[in-house]
Symmetry: C2
Subunit: 323 residues, 2 copies
């Protein structure tokens, strides 16, 4: 049983290698722009649509990098993880493409659409309670039983290098970005942005956007050390997990600022994006736009890259619907 | 007062001219593909996302061609139209970009989201009953009062030439298409496909997709003459209008076949597209996929271009929601 979270931090060469390794299994996702959103915010926004990504989220980048980097011998025992949703789908997808087993520990409260998708990709689910403590205990049992390679949803250097390919593509697709903003939960996507941008575009500002009701990264950033909550409650269900050592390294060294938004602000930004940009995206993806609308002075006049992280939403339970 | 519907049929040169004229005001919309949809249908599908178009629908192409083709003198009196929705938005958008008035007659039952959008673009609404008869009577009064240039939503040669730019782009973006399929209501988009493809790619099959509950184009096609219903009822609210002389010309000469789908098949295809492709689109846009799923033998093994015509849906009233 191997825990990659103690491996050395990834380098930019790891990102280049990851991009080459995962290219056959991922989409180079398109960039959308909206005159309406530009007028509304006073900024020039470029939306990188990882909701159109394979398995519906950017997390497939890190998952594929981990799965396709395994030796045949390592791969034979399969992979395992715990995840609030998209990493579970993505690892199941990646394992399926390689033809190896995938065991995932998911909170029993995860959206049914995500559970169905994991099973659809061939993954096996073991449920836990919706808290970090329960998740880690159940996972230890599963991992001990299967001997699978543990692919942590964000603290794994292979995963961070994979997620970093997103901002690498972004810089190839849009010239002259002044800032990039993405949601922050465990910090995998933001760490990837830090890794790429600090190497190839160190002048670009990096903003992380977080729900007020799960603002552990914000408080960590201000305090200068990791503060973890056990079971925060937010509609942005992909952002409930805390920072870990590796992501904290990147966040504490390279993030410009962390901005927060309320639940209502997140819902409003989500509905506005669906209505005006015609894309299906998760509540988590609306947090960056919500914080841009809340802090216009930070972004006005800038060319801002906004990462739309995923589109795996339960279409029967949209947050602006009553009941 | 000028009625362009009696003008000569548009030529392919009109399409080339239209494309040049409207380029500054429209998006060159992206093509999305989905491995899931390909597996499901046995065809290779390419989705042209006109739901990402300015004003949220392909109709802005025809509207801009009409508005920006007017002389200054003609333009001064503004433009007017009747429309079940997207043409109203599109003409308001185009008139707004040129800075001229736009009067639209809309059924009082049109989605509130579309009414709000017309007003948002600066258009003026006069309501009518939801029938062709009422719509035409109310419109005659409005047009007489304003002296505006009448831009018919689909029977106008300038509008057909504008819509034809969509399939022209499609042929530039995807090589080797065997067939193109689009929804049919009044026949503006399908006529545009016929006009472009019969000139630059005459081997490409052209399929029109229609709701069973508003199948007047299907029955016209089989009968060999226009059959018009006064007030058909379907969830695909953009497809309730009948063919007219100019669109009938193109449909009767160039369409390969017209296929129909039930209301439930349309809703299922719509939900499936939202869930798997992460795009917001109107019920009308789901009719092509519904007919492909219903007639797999027609499309199997072919490279098929599917036109997603618009994304202006009422997010509070999604058809798979109870109540």
């Amino acid at each position: 049983m191997k825990d990659h979270t103690d491996a050395p931090l990834p380098t930019y060469q790891d990102v280049v290698d990851a991009h080459e390794r995962i290219k056959p299994y991922i989409h180079r996702t398109p960039i959308l722009t909206s005159e309406f959103m530009n007028k509304l915010t006073g900024a020039e926004l470029f939306f990188k649509c990882e909701n159109f990504q394979k398995a519906g989220a950017f997390k497939v980048r890190g998952a594929c990098n981990a799965v396709f980097g395994l030796s045949d011998e390592e791969a034979a025992k399969g992979v395992a993880t715990h995840s609030s949703g998209n990493h579970a789908l993505s690892l199941s997808y990646a394992a399926g493409r390689r033809g190896i087993p995938c065991n995932v520990v998911m909170p029993r409260t995860a959206p049914q659409a995500k559970k169905d998708a994991v099973i659809g990709y061939g993954g096996t689910i073991t449920e836990c309670e919706p808290s970090t403590t329960s998740r880690e205990a159940v996972f230890a049992e599963v991992q001990a039983r299967t001997g699978a390679d543990f692919v942590h949803p964000y603290n794994d250097p292979r995963v961070i290098a994979g997620q970093a390919t997103c901002s690498r593509e972004f810089m190839e697709q849009v010239e002259g970005l002044d800032a990039v903003i993405a949601p922050i939960g465990g910090g995998g996507m933001i760490s990837g942005c830090c890794l790429t941008l600090s190497n190839i575009a160190p002048g670009v500002e990096i903003y992380a956007a977080e729900p007020e009701q799960a603002d552990d990264a914000y408080r960590s950033f201000k305090a200068g050390h990791i503060i973890a909550d056990d079971a925060p409650n937010t509609i942005a269900d992909g952002l409930k997990v805390p920072l870990k050592e590796n992501t904290w390294h990147f966040v504490s060294h390279h993030v410009t600022d962390i901005l927060t938004a309320s639940e209502q602000e997140i819902i409003d930004a989500m509905r506005l994006t669906w209505a005006r940009m015609k894309i299906v995206m998760e509540p988590s993806c609306a947090v960056p736009l919500a914080t841009i609308l809340k802090n216009p002075e930070v972004f006005r006049g800038k060319r801002v890259g906004v990462i739309i992280t995923g589109g795996n939403v339960d279409l029967d339970k949209l947050p602006w619907m009553a009941g």
